[in-house]
């Protein structure tokens, strides 16, 4: 073999080794799409062991849903507490409840996670219908997070109040998945739990706010570093009866869909559970009180009303690009 052939062979070998190293060590992107918590989950993870991390995140989400949070899942912790009017709280559920009680209190009752029976009367997701007024009033009288009695890890639930974590579960998923990501070697991740988003990594991410008036489009784009972004919109789940539209975000005071000019509220927070619960709370409270509530929690918020006006808290406004033609900032009209 002459010298040239030898060198050529060596070059090929090196290239081969380099290719093998590149494909085994290069960050991999893994995705998971699945249904849990009565919604659609879409996880994307980039980094070493992305496959393993994503299956752990998926398993954890399904466990959270079936074993702890879902009141529809027979045998879950919440289902058992509801059926037995209380019991002993697991450490995790106690942590969630503690932080949600804070939102109930600070929102002046605009947020409540004991409305299960009231929301059942509306039948969202099944056979939605406007409930009988008296029935609604009776159900409402029995509910209220302030009626819960919590002593250490014991909780007593008055008859008629039904724990329902529908307005915080997606955010809880984000927090639990973050715990998994923190303990791994991933470079970045985008976790969507039914439209509640966590962007994870050291770069800036772009998150669109869905067009509340339908279609697949978005009306504004947020550019944010690692954080959680949740939205509550009256367009998400609703039905129409006798020409009137009824959406699924109930005002705990009236038991009826929150009736203000808002159609979409987005809250940005490092905490998933807070971004999720606060987006609902701010929707119910309205622009002024909602803005104050978000500020109290150190969160940023974006409100959109039915006149295509966008109200943004000071800390996020400069990071918003409005892309929906009909929409504009309320203070720039």
């Amino acid at each position: 073999m002459n010298k040239k052939a030898l060198i050529a062979a060596a070059v090929c070998l090196l290239a081969g080794i380099a290719a093998v190293i590149y494909f085994t060590c290069a960050p991999k992107t893994a995705t998971a799409d699945f249904f849990a918590m009565d919604t659609y989950m879409n996880f994307k993870v980039t980094g070493k062991n992305a496959d393993a991390v994503i299956s752990e995140a998926k398993a954890e989400t399904e466990r959270l849903d079936k074993e702890i949070l879902s009141r529809q899942s027979a045998g879950s912790e919440v289902d058992a507490l509801n059926k037995n009017y209380g019991g002993v709280l697991s450490e995790r559920l106690k942590k969630y409840i503690d932080s949600l009680l804070g939102v109930c209190e600070k929102s002046g009752g605009g947020y409540d996670f004991t409305l299960g029976a009231v929301s059942d009367l509306w039948g969202f997701g099944k056979n939605p219908a406007v409930p009988d007024k008296d029935e609604l009033k009776n159900a409402l009288n029995l509910t209220g997070a302030d009626k819960l009695r919590i002593n250490d890890s014991n909780i007593a639930i008055p008859q008629g109040a039904v724990l329902d974590f529908g307005s915080a579960g997606k955010g809880i998923v984000l927090d639990e998945v973050k715990g998994i990501l923190d303990n791994s070697d991933v470079r970045e991740a985008v976790i969507s739990a039914g439209g509640s988003i966590m962007v994870y990594g050291s770069r800036d991410f772009t998150v669109g706010i869905k067009d509340p008036e339908g279609g697949n489009g978005y009306v504004a784009v947020l550019t944010v570093p690692q954080t959680c972004v949740s939205t509550s919109g009256s367009y998400e789940r609703y039905f129409e009866s006798e020409g009137k539209r009824y959406h699924h975000i109930l005002d705990p005071e009236t038991g009826c869909p929150a009736d203000n000019s808002l159609i979409s509220v987005t809250v940005i927070s490092q905490s998933g559970i807070l971004s999720d619960a606060l987006s609902t709370a701010c929707f119910v409270c309205g622009i002024e009180d909602g803005m104050r509530l978000a500020e109290e929690y150190g969160c940023e918020a974006v409100f959109i009303d039915n006149n295509h006006r966008i109200y943004a808290s000071a800390g996020i406004k400069d990071s918003i690009e409005i892309t929906g033609g009909a929409y504009s900032f309320a203070d720039e009209e």
């Binding site: 010298k3 969507s192 772009t206 706010i209 919109g233 998400e236």
Partner: protein, 123 residues
């Protein structure tokens, strides 16, 4: 010539292979970002075209610059014709990569290709 380790052709082949490898890696990293062409007239965006969805020829006469004919086809976009005197815009040819820009100064019309893919949408 005989004692030379590599001939010119050898070097060219090695370079070509190396370039192909780099291109392949870059292409892999870029992923499948859908591209959007923004057409603006007089500084105002009048049309936004998702190039990733364009296959058949689409003709656009942008609002406010009706003398300009823009054609999107097969994931690319270009100034096809214009009433302007120098036709510089037409000469700029096809735009299809993020950052590609073509301008028709007399008609104040700009086409810019942006990577429009968001990381996520909240709802």
């Amino acid at each position: 010539m005989k004692n030379k380790l590599f001939r010119k052709t050898d070097l060219i082949i090695i370079l070509a292979v190396a370039l192909a490898a780099v291109a392949f890696i870059l292409w892999q990293r870029m992923g499948d970002t859908p591209l959007t062409a923004e057409i603006s007239v007089n500084g105002k965006t009048v049309e936004s075209v998702d190039l990733s969805k364009i296959t058949d020829r689409v003709e656009i006469r942008p609002e406010g610059a009706e003398n300009v004919l823009i054609v999107a086809e097969d994931g690319k976009i270009r100034f096809e014709a214009s009433d302007c005197p120098d036709k510089l815009c037409v000469k700029q040819g096809e735009l299809y990569r993020k950052g590609d820009t073509a301008v028709c100064l007399p008609e104040k019309t700009v086409i810019t290709v942006t990577g429009a893919e968001l990381d996520a949408v909240t709802y």
